[in-house]
Symmetry: C2
Subunit: 422 residues, 2 copies
């Protein structure tokens, strides 16, 4: 256990640097690190980690290596544009503590129509205690929290007594291949902290996600013969209805899935994108839509996918229906209760917040599954209060970020151990 | 009335040139004259008309002039890419007959996915009595029929005794602005023949058409909070349902519209294109779709549009719904029975087909409305048997084309009168 005096030195150090932390977070937000456009933001992360004396590693994701892994989801952009950044801290003396990965993803989702934002998604303005911007919550505040929590120890005259890998990965929003590539590269540890925007709580369990693109097609005709022509847009909605029946069936089974029993609607099939037809006066012959489906922990992606394929094969639409996987092909995970890592996080959180750490189940994808399922590493997905991630006017609560940063700093000190440097 | 001997000379001349007519039709089909890409096909029409000694006129459509006309539909492509071609025949001697416009449109609709065609849409292959290809029926066979019907008189040693304007226009498939521009340029006559693919029949009445693009939008969120997020793709489908209620209401009123009483479904609202959403794992914030709506003759486009706007304003979707006009803004027309022009066509048709000319009502747009409504010119929309126009494997029946060409040739001779040139 950290002494009250050390605890205070660390949390004071977070406070002392917090303005700079916000400035850095804002700078990160101002890099629009949309998918395959993460390079400049990764440059910034690289530079910042390097300036802290970390041993730097930056590499391009490799399709061949990744695709051999059961957790791989098909990447549909050029691999040339995808690089991970990892900076490694190694203690000067013997590593007496427990090793740690501080993980975060640099990629952000599209803004949607920018005119629906009340401001630019990239200006990172702070107003009424919230920092706005695409990626502010999901999860540049978390990436900055990792970095500045690490800084706080040094500023407090302390050095972690174990190896720490600071990771900035890509592809968390679409495949999870970034964290998977980091694991495949050999980065492992005794715990991982991922400060995703989680309402100051710990994620106990989450769903797996599969992305797929459905194509519905048939024979069109002139609109004057519409009664005889197949209408792919109408048929697509029928297929969506078929998929939602499968979704309802899976939701009805929530009682048999630990940690999901009390969620109102744990399994969401989201129709996120649609396109179809070539001409207003022709009955549309094709329609494609993109689906994000969720699955419970313990259900393999392969099993879920075969149910989805069967659903599409048996579609009531009467159309030709085909589907290809287009991203995530991931299982969910459960963070089993009672780990040492969770215990340390709980005490750090209690120290900072003055209240017990709560855990919850989240029906969204998290890279935590990579570490838990394939690395045997307890994944502590824990982070600040946010609103409207993936929506308009995404924002993160500034004081929550401060407290989360303090919690992570205390966690590092307790988990890794510290030596005095003064 | 034409003598049997002259009739035979003319129809024999059509037969004699029919192989060349098919070759020329195929050449036209091999020019993919998609919207705003009609130039090379118009070059060909220009050259062919010029070679026949017609006085040539080719001009670019003009937005300012067009948009002042009540029948204008907003053009959404560059006007620079849109030119009409008209060749005018003037008799050497006094014009003793009735003047005529032979009209056809050069533009074709998109092919849709080409792999759904059994062959290239542009190879114009003839198989089992049908010529295949996008535009084969709609309406390059008709453009060629106009030209070769005109040729047949000359080959038969006859010269028309009235002015004939041979028109190849653009924009028939999207706005009708091509024929409208020709009318505005001053081209008028006592009758117009438009050999659209009409099953060897005469169009008695047709619908007007309005094109518009609907945008449905709202506030999205992360899919994990899907219950709280607005889903624009779902909302779009609700709006489509609202529009179909309006469509049903209009169809229910068919009994009060002359020539439409007996059609099963005269009013079609076609959802021809759709797009929406930015990311599979974000609840979609926007969705746009393109609608082609039909209206009865006698209903002004402005009236129909105000009903459509009210329908969208009162949408049950709970979404923000807006719409812009994106093409056709046209009224339907009726070809009143008993015109001299129809009488002449009926006798020409009887002569060639050995059966009475039938007329029918077609629930699709036709440029006939330009001449009928705004020029006071009887529009004879009459042409060959086709299948799958606007669909896959569009085709036109070769022997039907031959007969239609003969009918048009006899019509020219009877309507315009002829003088012997031998």
């Amino acid at each position: 256990m950290l002494t009250p005096e050390i605890t205070k030195r660390i949390t004071d150090a977070v406070d002392a640097a917090f303005d700079r932390q916000l400035e850095f977070t804002a700078e990160l937000v101002r890099h629009p690190s949309l998918r395959a456009e993460e390079a400049s933001a990764q440059d910034l992360m690289f530079t910042q980690m390097e300036a802290r004396g970390l041993a730097m590693d930056r590499w391009q994701l490799d399709e061949e290596t990744l695709s051999a892994h059961v957790g791989y989801g098909p990447t549909t952009v050029a691999f040339e544009d995808l690089t991970n950044v990892v900076g490694t801290y190694t203690p000067a003396g013997p590593a007496t503590g427990r090793s740690l990965i501080l993980n975060g993803h640099i990629d952000v989702v599209p803004t949607g129509p920018e005119d629906t934002w009340s401001r630019s998604p990239w200006d990172a303005e702070i107003k009424d205690g919230w920092m706005y911007g695409r990626g502010s919550g999901d999860m540049k505040a978390g990436l900055a929290a990792n970095l500045f929590a690490f800084d706080a120890l040094r500023a407090a005259g302390l050095a972690p007594a174990a190896v720490i890998h600071m990771q900035s990965v890509v592809e968390e929003e679409c495949t999870g291949n970034g964290s998977l590539a980091a694991l495949q590269r050999g980065y492992t540890a005794e715990a991982v902290v991922i400060p995703e925007p989680e309402e100051n709580m710990l994620v106990r369990a989450n769903v797996g996600v599969i992305w797929f693109k459905v194509r519905v097609s048939g024979k069109p005709t002139h609109v004057r013969e519409m009664a005889t022509g197949f209408n792919a847009i109408d048929a697509a909605y029928t297929v969506m209805g078929d998929l939602r029946e499968l979704q309802d069936k899976w939701n009805a089974d929530k009682g048999s899935h630990r940690y999901f029993e009390d969620l109102e609607h744990p399994i969401n099939f989201n129709i996120g994108m649609i396109s179809g037809g070539d001409w207003p006066s022709s009955v549309p012959s094709w329609c494609e839509f993109d689906v994000r489906a969720a699955l419970y922990p313990g259900v393999t992606a392969a099993d879920a996918w075969s149910q989805i394929e069967a659903c599409l094969r048996d579609s009531t639409s009467g159309a030709e229906v085909s589907a290809v996987r287009s991203g995530f092909f991931s299982e969910g995970y459960v963070l089993e209760e009672g780990s040492d890592a969770e215990g340390v996080l709980a005490s750090s959180h209690q120290e900072v917040f003055g209240s017990a750490l709560e855990s919850f189940t989240t029906p969204g994808y998290l890279d935590g599954r990579v570490f838990t399922l394939y690395g045997g590493i307890p994944a502590l997905v824990y982070g600040p209060v946010s609103e409207a991630i993936h929506g308009f006017d995404e924002r993160v609560h500034v004081e929550s970020v401060r407290k989360v940063t303090k919690t992570i700093a205390l966690f590092i000190a307790e988990w890794c151990g510290v030596t005095e440097t003064r």
